[in-house]
């Protein structure tokens, strides 16, 4: 074979590699043979014909492969977007691949802790006066003179997220957990259940406890934003609540105090509707709530790493962590008999990581009543 033709054929063969394997497997030899014939004919007719053949070959390579390249680019682009979303989402707390300890108060839709024994305990649906049904699950001595209520509706998860604590609590203590409206086994509500105004959530709780005839007084146990919910409930129905346990609780002043050290931390920090619906106080307004009843505030021992707050400088993360500690100190002083306990080896999901410490705090509060 003429060396020039040989080079041409090698080049064509190289271009052919970009075509689909299927096409090459079926027609590879035919295409090479045709190209050889065609280039031979073109050479005999002059350079312009050879150029035309190459132009055709290059054009068809682009035309046939462009859709494939576009499709592949789309797949890579989609994968990149998904990975970025997951990274940003888990960093900001919208989703998580596992329980990441965090300082920030979260509103987690549900953390599933499958526990057959827990599922088969005394769970039932209770119909509220407004027709909604809420899932309630109680364990321990039914004859007990008080009821411990593991609060949900703000903060972390459904009744299931408390299952480890509920199992660890002394069987002589009556303890109940429930799914808030819109979550878990309770009825759906219109819109995002986490956006349900906190006053309404408090009303739901009150309705549930009334209809289910839970024995008063109550000890409310709230984790994260659930702490806010417990305080709201105590404020509205002070006679019903005899004791409180805060599990790495949020603080009513945290939105504006955090914004003062890291304005980008929560874009909603100055949004009056968001603040009101979630029980946070507006800029510079201080918490006036107090209750001289047995109260234990459990504080996490493990500080949030800087990686939990993308976009914040290390100094801002340190400042947020210092504020969080101050919040816990402040909450523990809101009762003249309040106590602060730092729970070793615990993060924000203390009721999952260290359920025993939460059960101990419940026992100690009950003893003081």
């Amino acid at each position: 074979m003429n060396p020039v033709v040989r080079i041409y054929c090698c080049l064509f063969n190289w271009l052919l590699m970009f075509q689909s394997d299927d096409l090459i497997a079926h027609y590879g030899d035919d295409m090479r043979a045709i190209f050889r014939e065609e280039i031979g004919r073109a050479r005999s007719q002059g350079r312009s014909e050879v150029a035309k053949v190459w132009l055709d070959v290059l054009r068809e390579t682009v035309v046939l492969l462009a859709p494939v390249w576009v499709a592949r680019t789309n797949v890579v682009f989609a994968a990149t977007c998904l990975a970025s979303l997951l990274t940003i989402g888990s960093a900001l707390g919208f989703c998580s691949l596992n329980a990441i300890p965090r300082v920030m108060a979260c509103s987690k839709p549900e953390i599933a802790f499958q526990d057959k024994a827990q599922q088969s305990s005394e769970g039932s649906l209770v119909e509220l006066p407004d027709g909604h049904h809420m899932f309630l699950e109680c364990s321990g001595a039914a004859s007990a003179k008080q009821t411990v209520i593991l609060v949900t509706g703000r903060g972390l998860g459904t009744a299931n997220s408390w299952s480890k604590v509920q199992q660890k609590v002394d069987p002589a203590i009556r303890v109940c957990s429930y799914d808030a409206l819109g979550a878990g086994r309770s009825d759906r509500v219109e819109g995002n259940p986490q956006a349900r105004p906190i006053d309404q959530v408090v009303a739901d709780m009150h309705g549930l406890f009334q209809v289910a005839r839970l024995t008063q007084p109550f000890v409310l146990v709230g984790a994260s934003d659930g702490g806010l919910l417990s305080r709201k409930y105590q404020q509205k129905y002070p006679k019903e609540v005899a004791g409180l346990v805060f599990v790495d609780s949020s603080h009513e002043e945290m939105e504006w105090r955090d914004a003062a050290v890291a304005p980008q931390f929560d874009p909603n920090w100055n949004n009056p509707v968001f603040l009101r619906n979630n029980g946070f106080l507006p800029n510079h307004q201080k918490l006036t709530w107090s209750a001289n009843i047995p109260l234990i505030d459990l504080e996490r021992s493990e500080k949030a790493p800087a990686s939990a707050f993308p976009g914040l400088t290390p100094e801002q993360v340190d400042a947020i962590n210092v504020l969080w500690h101050d919040f816990q100190v402040d909450l523990s002083k809101r009762s003249n008999v309040g106590q602060l306990r730092v729970v070793s080896n615990s993060g924000h999901f203390m009721h999952v990581d260290q359920p025993g410490a939460v059960a101990d705090a419940i026992r100690d509060v009950m003893q003081q009543i």
Partner: protein
Amino acid sequence: MAERNLSNDLLLAMLPLAPASFFVLFALAEEEKHGYRIMQDVRELSEGTFSLGPATLYTTIKKLTEQDLISELASAAEDRRRTYRLTSSGRRLLTAEFRRQEALLNLARSKGVVRFGGQK
């Protein structure tokens, strides 16, 4: 091999034909041909306005074969080149495409937007 006879609806849904498919079917309308002959005839039929590269030609051949519009003939021992012919569906499709083009030409004539030959 038994040919699948494509329904008229299915054939009509394929219209208008892409230039590569159209010219390959057109080239095979006359008689059965091998790949290189199809390539040459397409250039001739289109009077040099349309040419197929090897990859486009065989991508088209593969597609038309899969659609049962053309079929590969069992090759003769002395000739390694594969030859192709139109199936009856392929012929009907080509006819339908010509009819479509004819109707368009007639429409253009009746509207007087284009003048052909000696037409006034």
